[in-house]
């Protein structure tokens, strides 16, 4: 679960990491009011969970409350990469001498969290990582010991921070690692972490991603999810523990397992079709979950045919078949289906569906071919 910038900054501030003064605005009037309170130049920042916000016009520097109102009116309601901007973070503009990159994330290969820092923070950090990797310093954090002071100090040394800032850098790093660990984050990124003209650290931007698998330990954080910033299908899918990603094609896919779902999409594409979605029902799905998945697919107006590919292991074909049967009893649809069921309780599943008169396939390849064929035929 990704947090908005304003949510991330609240967490930073709670952990003694300085952030600019500011508040959220939902209307141009609010933006004006906040600018008046801040009494100086402010930055308006669209709160949308997509990259490249600045280039898309989602960040504006303004000098007066009046300007703030005018610019806020332009940004609010705008769409950035198809996401409507509903809220702006209005913050004091901060002058700084230097931009640092600070990141904590999981390195799956090493099985550790990495602290990543660079003296050359800012939007070009990925370019720098590619062309001058020596400017990026990485420290592996022992998951049992946590970040040690000497490691943070070594990072400060490596990026040549002025010595009088080392102590504070160590403290900020420890506070952020503490937040990362206690919130079960998989990413905390501050880019840029600036050194202000008053020689203070300040987080000018911030990203936090939380581990969805650990949200059960953090009921207070679940509320932070911004469902207004995502497709309603995705919200619905999450409610049932499904992994759903909307795509641009017309073949609705319902598959168990992420690998098989990807392979199914790959084959559809190889055969000349285009998937309407990625949908993994996970392992051991109940008939209710399958039914929910199918409802989500059928609710997508772009879907012209449905491909169900189930290879039962922990998932039982009879449960899947029950879910399909129930859904088709509830929703009348002319959308053509191709169903391929194999594996655990396959025979039982096929019996359940035997009256449904849905097209079946014996192999993934055959199923994909039939679905692509359906998708290329004119809608009945």
């Amino acid at each position: 679960m990704r947090l908005h910038e304003y949510q991330s900054k609240k967490i930073f501030a709670d952990h003694q990491v300085p952030v600019p003064r500011g508040r959220l605005a939902s209307t141009p009037e609010e933006a004006k009011l906040i600018a008046e309170e801040l009494d100086g130049p402010v930055v308006l920042k669209a709160q949308v969970l997509v990259g490249g916000r600045g280039k898309a016009g989602g960040i504006r520097l303004v000098r007066t409350p009046g300007e703030a109102e005018n610019e806020a009116a332009k940004v609010l309601g705008k769409r950035i990469k198809d996401i409507p901007v509903r809220r702006l973070l209005v913050e004091e503009a901060v002058s700084f001498q230097h931009e640092i990159y600070f990141g904590l994330t999981i390195d799956r290969e090493r099985g550790q969290t990495l602290l990543i820092v660079s003296a050359e923070g800012g939007i070009d950090i990925e370019e720098i990582a590619r062309t001058s990797p020596e400017k990026i310093f990485r420290v592996g954090i022992d998951p049992l010991l946590g970040l040690r002071d000497f490691q943070a100090r070594n990072a400060a040394t490596e990026i040549e921070l002025p010595r009088q800032l080392w102590r504070r850098f160590v403290n900020i790093s420890q506070n952020l690692y503490h937040a990362y660990h206690t919130l079960d984050a998989t990413l905390i990124e501050i880019n840029p972490l600036v050194i202000t003209t008053h020689n203070q650290f300040m987080a000018l931007d911030g990203k936090i991603t939380l581990d969805d698998n650990a949200l059960f330990r953090h009921p207070d954080l679940v509320d932070k999810r911004d469902i207004s910033a995502e497709a309603p299908e995705e919200t619905e899918a999450r409610k049932f523990g499904l992994t759903y990603i909307k795509l641009s094609g017309n073949i609705g896919c319902l598959v168990n397992g992420a690998g098989l779902a990807m392979a199914t999409m790959d084959i559809i594409q190889h055969k000349g079709g285009t998937p309407a979605n990625f949908l993994d029902i996970g392992g051991g799905a109940s008939s209710e979950k399958v039914a929910a998945a199918l409802r989500i697919i059928l609710a997508d107006p772009q879907v012209e045919t449905v491909l169900i590919n189930i290879f039962g292991g922990i998932t039982r074909c009879d449960e899947v078949a029950l879910g399909i049967k129930q859904t088709l009893a509830d929703i009348r649809t002319n959308t053509p289906f191709v169903i391929r069921l194999v594996g655990t309780n396959e025979a039982e599943g096929k019996i359940i569906l035997s009256e449904s008169r849905l097209a079946s396939a014996n192999s993934l390849q055959e199923a994909a071919e039939k679905a692509v064929q359906n998708s290329l035929e004119p809608v009945p």
Partner: protein, 292 residues
């Protein structure tokens, strides 16, 4: 012969009395797996599954009484990390964790502990291991594969079944199939399994099933160049997948251009691995190797 599991495997099922544990234990027993015990705290002393399997309160007791040397874990995600540590603490040397959804920071800790112990963890979020015709430790359906000389190793669950099934339909059998698990942090990676297959006298060719994300396929490529004499066939899922919701810049910095289907396929090709475009191509590639 097989790798990791064989007739000497004495399996304890952690989370035996839950729905999944009960269902798949029945399946494993039917296949022939030597299941010596189950563990459900608070239910020690019962005999379940028609009196076939004794239940213990702890893995320690199960090991003491039955000599169990391998464990399979079906316990729910919030308790699964503890279950892995309990098995390792009880000197189990093969732990297969089926559970998905374990918080990643818990798995970082578990892996750090396990790395210093003489113990092999498969998974989590793994479909387990099958060594036809008699032993399976996991949830891979027994009827979709048969005994043979192809070693299969995969990060996926159901995609693995697909491949096994395609192989079987082409008359090709499996020496051992190992699902290493789809989570970011897992116990055993491609390289350890490849190394086992290299040493296994029955295995003649290996099928490696990868997917986008991480660098495990790239590392396997380097290992294949350095240490493998047996031929490897590869399939990578996710070529048509939308680019993942990335982990900020940090993710890009760590991956450094690796992790894409393109990167993985190129690396494997450079290591002499034949790449299958569809899973259905795999039998042809195996036959073409054998006709050489």
């Amino acid at each position: 012969m097989s790798i990791l599991v064989n007739q000497e495997t004495r399996l304890v099922v952690q989370g035996l009395t839950g729905n999944e544990g009960r269902f798949h234990t029945t399946q494993m027993l039917a296949y022939g797996t030597n299941i010596v015990a189950g563990v459900t705290p608070g239910r020690g002393g019962e005999w379940v599954l028609n009196g076939k399997v004794p239940v213990f309160d702890s893995v320690h007791m199960a090991v003491d009484v039955t000599g169990a040397n391998a464990s399979i874990i079906f316990v729910p995600a919030p308790f699964a990390a503890d279950a892995i540590l309990e098995a390792a603490d009880a000197s189990i040397n093969l732990i297969v964790c089926i559970t998905e959804g374990i918080p990643v920071q818990e798995m970082l800790q578990v892996r750090r502990v396990i790395d210093n112990q003489n113990c092999c963890l498969i998974g989590p979020n793994s479909p387990g291991i099958i060594a036809p015709p008699l032993t399976k430790v996991g949830i891979i359906p027994g009827n979709i594969t048969q005994q043979g000389s192809v070693g299969v190793v995969s990060r996926s669950g159901t995609l693995t079944y697909e491949v096994l099934y395609i192989l079987k339909q082409a008359g090709i059998g499996t020496s051992t199939c190992v699902g290493i698990g789809g989570d970011p942090i897992i116990g055993t990676h491609f390289n350890e399994i490849l190394s086992h297959f290299e040493d296994d006298s029955t295995t003649e060719v290996i099928v490696l099933i990868g997917e986008i994300g991480g660098q495990d396929e790239e590392k396997a490529s380097a290992f294949i160049i350095d240490s493998m004499t047996k031929p490897v066939i590869g399939f990578i899922a996710g070529q048509a997948a939308p680019s993942d919701k990335r982990m900020g810049h940090a993710g890009a910095i760590i991956e450094g251009g690796m992790g894409t289907a393109k990167s993985k396929i190129e690396a494997l090709k450079n290591a002499g691995v034949k790449i299958a475009r569809y899973p259905e191509d795999i039998p042809h590639l195996i036959h073409s190797l054998q006709s050489h």
